[in-house]
Amino acid sequence: MLRIECPCCGPRDHDEFRYGGDASVTRPAHDDPDPEAWYRYVYIRTNPAGPHREYWQHVTGCRQWLVVERDTRNHVIASVDFARKLRARKSTLRKSPA
């Protein structure tokens, strides 16, 4: 079993979680009309053989969506964090004046 260390619930078997796929693709804004952007978001995947940032939801636990960094070659997990936290950081980054 993968053991995913939920930041608030502790280490759990991965069957407590729901997989959410590649977390490196960014979802276009809800009102982004660009078909290309949506096409890439929905379909295109880098699918690396190596470190992979991916979404998991602790669905039978705290129900938080997490971002897990895991090596697809050996399943070793390097980091786990709340998707919200990372997202927040990202957006603040974007907000900061260039």
Binding site: C8, C9, G10, R12, D13, D15, E16, V59, T60, G61, C62, R63, Q64, F82, R84, A88
Partner: protein, 166 residues
């Protein structure tokens, strides 16, 4: 619903009066302040911690979510959550409380849920959200050889049968 009592194990099923409150991202501090003020008790700090106060068991089930479980006979606390800080949902109709006790309980539970009976995170007074035969349940460690499972009502019989070995 399967309830059973034998020399070394007892299982009973009870209702589970319960209110869920949740604070918004960003204003969590204020939310917690106001709630603990109106409950007159400090809230459990981290997920899995519980605080018992005036017939009310306060459980942190997620970073911004708390469950207020009422002991039998106690009234729902008159708790108004400021909509600018958070919200609340009653969940007391939809859950059942499976109460279990017995010397062999640790062994028995090990065949049901993936919780380490001896870990500090499962010590008496702790809560663990986990899954039981694919169903989300809340494990409450109530004593040395006693615990409860708060389970969705629609699964309560299937799960209690399973525990009782039916």
């Amino acid at each position: 619903m399967a309830s059973l009592t034998s020399r070394d194990f007892s299982l009973s099923v009870a209702d589970c009066p319960l209110v869920q409150i949740e604070g918004w991202d960003g204003t969590l501090r204020q939310f917690e302040k106001s709630v603990s003020a109106s409950l007159g008790k400090k809230l459990p700090a981290s997920v899995g911690e519980t605080v018992h106060h005036k017939g009310l068991l306060i459980i942190r089930v997620a970073p911004r979510r708390l469950w207020l479980a009422l002991d039998e006979g106690t009234e729902v606390p008159a708790l108004v959550v400021d909509p600018d800080l958070g919200c609340s949902v009653p969940l007391g109709e939809g859950r059942a409380r499976l109460k279990m006790a017995g010397p062999d309980i640790a062994r028995l539970l090990s065949g049901r849920i993936a919780v380490d009976w001896h870990a500090p995170t499962a010590a008496p007074g702790r809560a663990v959200l986990t899954s039981f035969h694919h169903v989300p349940v809340l494990f409450l460690r109530t004593g040395e050889t006693a615990c409860e499972l708060i389970v969705p009502r629609s699964f309560a019989r299937s799960l209690s049968d399973w525990i009782a070995g039916g």
